[in-house]
Amino acid sequence: MNHWIALPILIPLISAVLIPLVGRPTILIRRALGLVACLGTVAVGAWMVLRTRLGEIYTYSLGDWQAPFGVVLVLDGLSALLVALTGVVSLFCLLYAMNRHDQKGKFFHFFIQMQIAGICGAVLTGDLFSLFVFFEIMLLSSYNLLVYTGAKKSLTAGIHYVILNLTGSALFLLAIGTLYGVTGTLNMADMALRVGELGTEDTALVRAGALILMVVFFLKAAILPLYLWLPNVYSSAVAPVAALFAILTKVGVYAILRVSTLIFGAEAGVAAGAVEPYLLPLATFTLVLGMIGALASTHLRKMMGYLIVASLGMMLMAMGLFTAEGIAAGLYYLPHSTIAMAMLFLLADQIGRQRGPEDDRLVLARLPTQKSVLGLIFFIGAIAVAGLPPFSGFLGKVWVLQASLPSPHVVVIWPVVLLTSLMALVAFSRAGTLIFWKAKEPADEDEKGRKCASAFELLPIIGLLTCIVLYTVYSGPIAEFCTVIAEHLLAPHGYIEAVMGAQK
């Protein structure tokens, strides 16, 4: 038995239970427990990536109930990539939160760990209904993390976010019900087999079920026209939470990719290609509108929110080609954009604090106290996100362009990618010029009460920056890994056999 597959769910879950029990007396215990759990998740995630780098697939039947009757956890390259990414991003967010954000609420560390458990569970499970359950765990923690400070701005954004996601959950159940009614199973691998055997009389039902499911995942992944919630929610959360939220949308991307290739892939009979015609155009529009939003933003944090929307459009556009090359390019872009955006959210928080009353508004104000350090990190982050050499954003975008060459959509994808990169550059230049170049040196009487980032506040930001550099340096092996994942996604026999064959 591969008991270790359950570790990325168990480690945060156990730590989450211990935090309120053992950590009552002092925040130091809560911090230590959270930190140990995050380090554990990073270690397990890294080990999972190493174990799956050649396309191996491991399964674990919970309670030894065999598939398709019990719930199985399935570990393949895609899940391993997401687990490792979650571990890395949450570690740095937690480190940053330890400066002051985790003191504002008693249960901050509890919810962070529940959030990680939910994300890891969602990417590991091989069962459609437990995917729903893990989504709910993840979302309930994210609601709490969004509103835990009780600030007015975050409460209003929180209500919108919660209501939108509750409606999404209702649709999710509706889709699960429809698909179960047609196929009689909830196990994704089993469902993939049964969907292929359906007669034409079930075509309408199964395609409707598939598309309702996609609406839910589009909502989580913030794809047009369901992205309007994202900039508002992300900009009203506190910085480490917003940085952690950067990975929430990627779970939506994961679900889209998993379901559309495994259940509704090329061999799905009457449901084959139920998703394909919609993903590419919607993602393209999302990319364009996200960038327009970034250009028009009046606040730095909102601009970051729109840039997240645009980056999601970018990776889903590549994945929407549904070729091995396209999916691999999208997968390569995914960790890069998550890490870069998380870093920029943390940076925006520091910039806002050091500018004083103007906070993160994009207007002329005084210079941030540590202008050279923050300016340098902002510059590097801007280069990475806009997709200029030498960082991984550039490599990712070139790969997307290359992957689109054989497709007839190339005439759209090339101009869109190049123009939106230019728009990102303009947006960053505008923000950078206002904050760092045109800003005035503060007068002497302002000097007292000015905030300065401590080394411990800069450490997580620089840590994430180092991750981007490392990601670029090790692009070769990572790109190979992405290609392996993409090839296995498009040929789901291995996955289905690993799950369904486990009973023998």
Binding site: V147, G158, I159, I163, L166, A170, L173, G177, L186
Partner: protein, 112 residues
Amino acid sequence: MEALIASAIAVLGSCGIYLVLRERTFTVILGLALLAISVNLFLLSMGRVAPGHAPVIEEGIELVSYVDPLPQAVVLTAIVIGFAMMAFVVVLSISAHFVTGTDHLDGEEQSP
């Protein structure tokens, strides 16, 4: 039986959608509750509507007449999760009401 359940789902669902689109938190929460109920009924009926049959096979029950137990297990989980979420959104909207002083969804009254 099928017609009754189907129309119940339809009526509850459409009332829920109408209420969710309103602008006050209270009506929206009511709408979410109705929507959740209609979805739960829908999930339950996915195991085929067969009244009077047992979902658990025991000795003495003929194998020809049992209903699928899975939707019942699934709907139980869905009800529990839905209930927790409803409690959360009620508490959230109350605290938002205290902080913003209005029950409008946007946290401020819209000028006409």
